[in-house]
Symmetry: C2
Subunit: 323 residues, 2 copies
Amino acid sequence: MNPIQDLQQRIDDAFGRIQFPAHPADLYDPITYTLGLGGKRLRPLLVLSSCQMFGGDTSDAINPAIGIELFHNFTLLHDDIMDEAPLRRGKETVYKKWNSNVAILAGDTMFAIANKFMLRTRSQAISQVVELFNQTAIEVCEGQQYDMDYEKRQDITIAEYIEMIRLKTAVLLAASLKTGAIIAGAGAADCDYIYQFGINIGLAFQLKDDLLDVFGIQEKFGKVSGGDIIAGKKTYLYLKVLESAGQHGEYFRKLYASHDMESSEKVTKVKEIFNQMNIEQHTRKLIDEYYQKALNELSCISLSSEATDSLKEYTEGLMEREN
Amino acid sequence: MNPIQDLQQRIDDAFGRIQFPAHPADLYDPITYTLGLGGKRLRPLLVLSSCQMFGGDTSDAINPAIGIELFHNFTLLHDDIMDEAPLRRGKETVYKKWNSNVAILAGDTMFAIANKFMLRTRSQAISQVVELFNQTAIEVCEGQQYDMDYEKRQDITIAEYIEMIRLKTAVLLAASLKTGAIIAGAGAADCDYIYQFGINIGLAFQLKDDLLDVFGIQEKFGKVSGGDIIAGKKTYLYLKVLESAGQHGEYFRKLYASHDMESSEKVTKVKEIFNQMNIEQHTRKLIDEYYQKALNELSCISLSSEATDSLKEYTEGLMEREN
């Protein structure tokens, strides 16, 4: 097993050991169900590998790592209510399988349980870890609010979109990395560098998600290509067209917002415009800019480049996916 | 100003100083609105007076006191969605004034902010304070779930009802008191006594609420008498009738669940049965039992009776209200 696989195994084992009470069933069954849906467990992996990179004891980091994943799953539970999402990882969402009230309350409980997990670390690190965790939670909520606000607004700038995905997605990846660093006892400057690495990696990941939704290689059983286009989601790709099209953007705006035509026809038409305007290339360029910024932050850390290699390789692997 | 009024003033001042960001407006406006609705601020007062009673510095306790009140208001925000409550303290609830999504997300944010406030205390107390806070949060969620479960069940026992109100109401009052004690550096036994005092006071308060809803002296602009009866809420009074009536309870069960007749007629009929079965006396007796248990716990605390007098007088005042 390579170091990353080893950490992944430890995270899976730790999740396997979590036991929730049997009652009240409508509170704890949805939590068990949600965690059973799996997921990449990316955030706990970032906590542990950052802790390891800075020479910390990963046993001090495993509980906060779980806490962050519990928090992430709680946000999905509540987001699915707000977004009226019927499916999550191919299975019914909690609010569909049970109801909204169950999803609200199970989510609240997960957030409280997450906070308890955050406390189980080196006593000198507790205050900083829990402060960062809850500050990040606030920012994630802000990101979700902006995301919902932007559904209704027609004048979103690219800068506003980037700020929204920074809050909604990047800060939690950054906080995961910084949590590992704090627990390892890294210095303030290094904590800041690894946090900024996380922000830039997070932005690159989200933009890559936006890109692959349209230009990804379709998996056999994967997502339908163009889901964002069908839903009319205002992604970077969409905003980049409008930015470049100027006043000629009205046709595109209407096309993108439309729900009148066949999905596949809409996707084809929108992709044509994306192609005409080199949107894929623009997006890949921006992704690479954020990725280079991330690597630059990583290189500022007061560790040998060998020490940072494992994290670098891991994130590179995630960046290279094309589906 | 007496000591309690002095603490109340400090709590009001501290709330007055809280400033939330302006954006996103749909996230922070509902929080400001909710806190602006006021309330007795009972829980922060319990934090501060317990801290003071155990000889602690109340400046160490003011932020956790605010954190607990923020948490309490967050639970009301989410409960109002689940209970479809249109009004709270005479004003529109957040989910009515905005919508459910706003109420969900503003609530989540308040819980995160509350956790940040909990951290701002003596460094030696942080871990215990935050652990207790989140454990209590979990229990409050369990209480809310049982409350919703019991709406659908016909076979609730009095013991189950008491356990539900313990979780939904009493544990937060108990945790408020214990938080003050922890911050003051009280010993483990005293922390436990003050917690049990809080549990018993909390049960007595909730039963008094149940009682006053039916038998309270009506205020000029107060709540409508018999709101629980009209809603068919399964309170102690209701369960006590069923317990005593045995198999003859079916008529009462149907009457209580009915939504067919005029509200005032339903209230009158239910009250007649309450009167026939001495339910008011039974309830007052149980309230007094919990109150005496509470005082007994208080007397076990390793402080002079003079030291505990202020808290005793304050809770006595709350117990004596008849509207």
